[in-house]
């Protein structure tokens, strides 16, 4: 921005540099967007027509049939419902739990602050591993239930630390004056800290919601036999692996393109339906998560 003042004396090398910058960034943008746009275009194209290839940015033979087929699929509906339910429930409970904990450990009067932080930070780097966790969930009766999606992951050290950093920034005098007025810690948390920290709540809520929406590993691991608890992502995964295994078994992969079990357009429609909510949501929360990440001083 401060280049503007020197516009008059801009040397030719700087102009060339400016052009290179724009070209570079434009190609970054194209590479990022193309696969997504192409998939959207495919999802609106007629299935048989799409096999010929040559669909890039816009459908050639427009059709809504793919989406009609997809939304008529029972497993997709179930998956969508479960995914929405777990995302909403987990975002609410997990946000509350993380905020409460962050509130407690950020209080100046609280003893064992650093010891407790260490106790949490350890869990970010050390865990039991896939099998011990699986066995524990099994013993607790969590496998094969909906609860496995939202109960075990309720508190995460990362989210908690991001929130704690923010809450530490609130002046102590605010808390003390509230206490003089007779407010307890519950009230301080509910009526003073939380309204002041809406941006960080938004950031963490986004992190949790995205994580929940995108999870499929837990559905596969703990609820493989329970079709009523399948998720949208897991259904897409099943679709993909059937395609992958087929192209894997056919040696002449070149001819296999047209004969996949599921037409590529259906696959495209499921992919679009699965990513749409998040792709529409995140730009609105961008300014929150960018500051949330950088001020929090923590990196994933």
């Amino acid at each position: 921005m401060n280049e503007k003042e020197y516009k008059v004396s801009k040397p030719i090398s700087d102009k060339i540099f400016g052009v290179i910058v724009v070209i570079f960034l434009a190609s970054f943008v194209i590479i990022t967007l193309y696969p997504v746009i192409n998939t959207v275009a495919l999802s609106f194209n007629d299935g048989i027509d799409a096999v010929r290839g040559g669909i890039y940015l816009w459908p050639r033979k427009f059709s809504m049939k793919n989406y009609k087929t997809v939304f008529a699929m029972q497993n997709i509906w179930t998956g969508a419902k479960v995914t929405v339910a777990r995302t909403v429930l987990a975002t609410l409970t997990s946000l509350f739990a993380n905020a409460l904990l962050a509130f407690v450990v950020s209080r100046k009067r609280f003893l064992f602050k650093s010891q407790l932080s260490l106790f949490w930070v350890i869990t970010m780097y050390v865990n039991g591993g896939m099998i011990p966790v699986f066995l524990l969930y099994k013993n607790l009766g969590l496998t094969g239930t909906f609860n496995v999606y939202w109960v075990p992951g309720m508190i995460s050290a990362f989210n908690m630390l991001v929130m704690r950093t923010y809450m530490e920034g609130i002046p102590e005098s605010l808390e003390e004056s509230a206490q003089l007025d007779g407010a307890g810690y519950f009230t301080i948390f509910k009526d003073i800290i939380s309204p002041l920290r809406k941006p960080v709540y938004a950031t963490v809520a986004l992190f949790i919601a995205v994580w929940q929406w995108n999870s499929w590993f837990d559905a596969m691991l703990y609820n493989r036999m329970k079709t009523q608890y399948t998720t949208l992502q897991y259904e897409l995964m099943k679709l993909l692996s059937s395609v992958m295994q087929q192209s894997g078994s056919a040696e002449n992969a070149k001819n296999a393109g047209g004969n996949t079990i599921t037409p590529i357009t259906i696959r495209a429609a499921v992919t679009v339906a699965t990513m749409l909510p998040i792709v529409c949501l995140y730009p609105f929360l961008q300014r929150y998560f960018v500051t949330g990440l950088t001020i929090g001083g923590v990196k994933e």
Partner: protein, 317 residues
């Protein structure tokens, strides 16, 4: 150091423990549930790790299971004589190193170039678009890749065909699969990872640029001699932290991308554990493998943190 100051100052304030707790008991009450949660879901699994040294018996407490032969090391020895595991170990290492080599510079380059852009609107839009892939799950990324690199009607192969060459089996040939896997990894993460660098760039003093302009430095020179050195500390810390995770392995990404034809390069530790543990029910063996991986990871992490502090940068804790 923080600990010391609290310990010194506390006795002054502490009239008596009972007064303190009468005043602040609410704080500790609020802590009860999260602590119970932490112990159950994060620390109890660590108790189960001992089945790595024991013969797993269904329905028996891990404490009562009998120790394996060879002083409990049976399954570790078994793992290292397992060709699949050695293969998974190698693949994990190779894929992580390639990820680091290709994926680490990408966000730095992107941040540097983005910083040079003068049009504020275009800059904002570019950033928003660049963050998008981070919000997609690996299943979606794999689905997009499957379409992009499809043998007959995928965009990349159509371009290759148009140039008069044969289609390249990007997803079915081991070497090409690795390239695709790494490419999509960079695609997914470069924008998101650039956030930290952009923040670091924003912290560089504008006076430095002004002084350089006075001295007649062009834009490229300014980028090279001011911006890049300015974010050097951030680069060093992140590089070291990434090195610390060199044997870490996620499950989602390799699993979403792999197929039978590329198993010999796509099988990593996490997928090995899934296949042999969850599906093959070899709980002791796979716990041993998981434990081995965790221990190596922690060692690397501590080492990385130590190096980072030795170099005068801040550690991660």
């Amino acid at each position: 150091m923080k600990k010391n100051t609290t310990k010194v100052s506390l006795p002054k304030k502490k009239v008596s423990a009972s007064v303190y707790f009468r005043k602040y008991w609410q704080l500790y009450l609020l802590l009860l549930l999260p602590m119970a949660y932490l112990i159950i879901f994060k620390y109890v699994p660590m108790v189960y790790i001992q089945i790595a040294f024991k013969d797993y018996k269904i329905g028996m407490s891990p404490f009562k299971m009998p120790l394996t032969t060879k002083n409990g090391m049976k399954y570790f020895i078994q793992a290292f004589s397992n060709k699949d595991f050695i293969n998974a170990l190698r693949n994990t290492l190779v894929l992580n190193i390639l990820d680091l080599v290709c994926g680490f510079p990408a966000p730095i380059i992107f941040a540097l170039i983005l910083n040079e852009l003068c049009f504020k609107r275009f800059k904002k839009i570019t950033q928003t678009i660049a963050y998008m892939p981070h919000f997609l799950s690996w299943v979606i990324v794999a689905s997009l890749a499957l379409q992009l690199f499809a043998p007959t009607n995928g965009f990349v192969n159509q371009v290759i065909n148009a140039m008069g060459r044969d289609s390249v089996p990007f997803l079915n040939d081991p070497a090409h699969w690795v390239a695709t896997y790494i490419f999509m990894g960079v695609w997914q993460s470069f924008g998101w990872n650039s956030i930290v660098y952009l923040a670091a760039i924003a912290g560089i003093s504008p006076e430095l640029y002004e002084a350089a302009s006075v001295d007649g430095a062009g834009r490229f020179k300014k980028m090279w001699h001011i911006t890049l050195p300015g974010i050097r500390p951030t680069i060093v810390v992140l590089l070291i932290m990434n090195l610390g995770n060199i044997l870490g392995s996620s499950f989602d990404r390799p699993y979403a991308f792999q197929n039978n034809l590329v198993m010999k390069v796509a099988n990593v530790i996490a997928t090995f554990v899934y296949k042999n543990g969850i599906k093959g029910l070899q709980f002791s063996l796979t716990t041993a493998v998981g434990l081995f991986q965790s221990v190596i990871c922690v060692i690397f992490l501590l080492l990385a943190n130590w190096i980072s502090r030795k170099l005068g940068e801040r550690g991660i804790w």
